[in-house]
Symmetry: C4
Subunit: 231 residues, 4 copies
């Protein structure tokens, strides 16, 4: 992607989070990265969505420092930067307060894989982070939010489970591109919604079998993918 294409992709990702009802008010932000240039582009902080243009996307380095002094970057930039540094294959990050994903995050409840909708996108349970300590909140709150996400993924592949619920906060979601990150955020909201409803009928619902999980996830991901017109 050229810089212009990435600016447009990051803007579209931000607008799509609103269009899909994942963001109310300005509770959300999306970013993308140019891995060659080592440069993140992210939504500016607190600007109304209907005024955003590609030129407003704020360029930053991988340490989370703005490279532009016109607009202040999203207040969650430091979390995005930590994720880009730790997860080498991701190209876009989205943060929302979408209703059901946030309910699960506030309830400290991971989203188990209860069906094939989930299995098509997430290869297992979507985890919840631990709470941040008082020190972590006091010292570098936004960066430490990224750090606990990375800690949660110590034994997980971030492209197999491209989302996390930050305890008491809400979801961070990623993908190979900003558009894929938004799409994963939309699916996360739907599977979180269905999981909440299943848990109301049965507090401890049974995940689908490993065989069914593998069958669906691997149909759309990896070398054996057969879905769509390009397989």
């Amino acid at each position: 992607m050229t810089d212009d294409e990435l600016r447009r992709a990051v803007l579209d990702a931000n607008l799509d989070t609103v269009r899909h009802g994942l963001v109310i008010s300005t509770f959300g932000n999306a970013s993308g990265i140019d891995r060659n240039a080592g440069r993140i582009l992210i939504k500016p902080s607190g600007v109304a969505y209907d005024r955003l243009t590609p030129a407003d996307m704020v360029p930053c380095d991988l340490d989370g420092r703005s490279l532009d002094n016109r607009l202040r970057p999203s207040s969650d930039l430091a979390t995005h930067a930590v994720l880009y540094r730790a997860f080498a294959d991701i190209g876009g990050v989205v943060h929302t307060h979408s209703t059901y994903a946030t309910i699960m995050a506030q309830s400290h409840r991971p989203v188990p894989c209860l069906g094939t909708t989930h299995a098509d996108y997430f290869h297992g349970t979507i985890p919840v982070t631990r709470d941040l300590t008082e020190d972590e909140i006091a010292q570098d709150y936004v960066g430490n939010t990224g750090t606990v996400i990375v800690e949660t993924f110590a034994d997980l592949d971030p492209l197999a489970i491209p989302a996390v619920l930050v305890a008491g906060h809400g979801p961070f979601v990623w993908g190979r591109t900003p558009a894929e990150a938004v799409h994963n955020a939309l699916i996360l909201e739907q599977v979180a919604k269905m999981a909440w409803h299943a848990m109301v009928l049965n507090p401890d619902p049974q995940p689908i079998s490993q065989a069914l999980l593998d069958r669906h996830f691997l149909r759309k991901h990896g070398a054996q993918a057969t879905y769509g017109q390009d397989g």
Copy 2:
């Protein structure tokens, strides 16, 4: 129906699943059949809905083999084909991941007939299939999904109960035409939604009486139907 009419009917059925909110992303597919020609028409796999035209509907035989090499058919084709072979009177099949029907499928909960909305369309409980075995998943997953549906209907009339919940997956719905199948899918979602809510108040809600069930179902179906302007 001519081939052109059936192509249009199958396209409309696919578009209507989206228009009614039964499908998010590309999680769904609708098909129709020309019984004389022994030919199924089905949505192509993974193509965006807003680009579909009647000419894109993929013709296939009753063994689930594509008769066209331009576009790959929906990845669920083999399930549709099994249903058309087993249920001789159906003319359309729809698969969605609609929210409440999927919640019930993920929860392994059949949808009991709790009211007349249900009774107008489904002559009794809408069943859930058993889980597929590991072997069934490994060998011919999509075809075996159809096989467990047919097994579930061993003692049921598929036109009296024109829907099923595939455990851990979602609904398959059918009808005499593709349009009727979509309409049944819409009603299924509404009765599943109402059943879920009733079960939250009372985990084991009482179905309506057989007399009331018969009164409503038979008003709209069969020789004594009196509803509408054509009776």
Copy 3:
């Protein structure tokens, strides 16, 4: 109202039930009455809403006989006729399968007055009918649906509680005019929705005090009404 005005009012009431999301498919009907002429006007059976015109509203007598042989009246006509005969002051009747009112009807749960939204329109609990007997279903099902509603209101003022939930079926709602009946159906759906949610937190929620109920209901109804610009 002239005949033309009443035809328009009945058509609008039918269209408004759809516009407000109270009716899916053709699950609903609204009627009005010209008390001087002893004539009911009601929606025809099973005609798509977007094709209805004022001229399609079917005139019927108070015994539920059609006075027109072009279109068949709604299959629920006999229920409407019983209500007009028994409740002398009502001028419009609406039947819907709106989601939460139907959930409560299917669950045999009356809607208690839990707040002022309810109290502004309904002067107490909205009742559920008893189930119809097998004989009542076999012999004159639609008329007997009206009869059990009237039985439920033996000790209630139908203009103080202008709605009922028919067990295992859904709501019938009325008012001084067809427009008022639709408005009451909209409020019923909202108070049923809020009551369902309150009952999930607390299965036996506490109704508001009689003093608060009277204060709100009588503000909008009767000789002491002070709300709006006409008081």
Copy 4:
């Protein structure tokens, strides 16, 4: 603000409550105050929203007396007036019957701070008032509704918790301006919705830590605010 600007701001606040789905029918009202002139502007009672113009906003004094005899002010004026007298720093008040805030008010359940969405706007639990006594209802019901709100805030800062749930009734929300009051009402509805869902999974959910609450609230409020482009 000039009188014209305040009239426009109050009208917009009223229209925005409808646009955001916080008000059904005419269940709601918004007002603003000119502190220098000691004059409240409020929506007229029972007028359809689509006909309202800035000139229809009714001027009233701080004792809740109308200063205009063309249109009657909202029937909730006396509550607004009490709040403006007691809370010296607020500039706008909004009353709605928004669904989840009203469910919590009807259930006498305060909204605990379960996440950062809440913490960004409300510095702690959103309280519920006590019930009004029979005497309070009989004598000056609307004014006494304001009085119990003020009583509930005896030890609370109304700009740190800019909302209350009136028991058995619904929310009153405020802010420095009418627009801020509407925005707070929108956020209240969302956090009440998420709290209801969390309470269904766990009747006694754990609030976030004081450290996280302070971190989020103080980021957007007070001298150390860093959010947006103006910090």
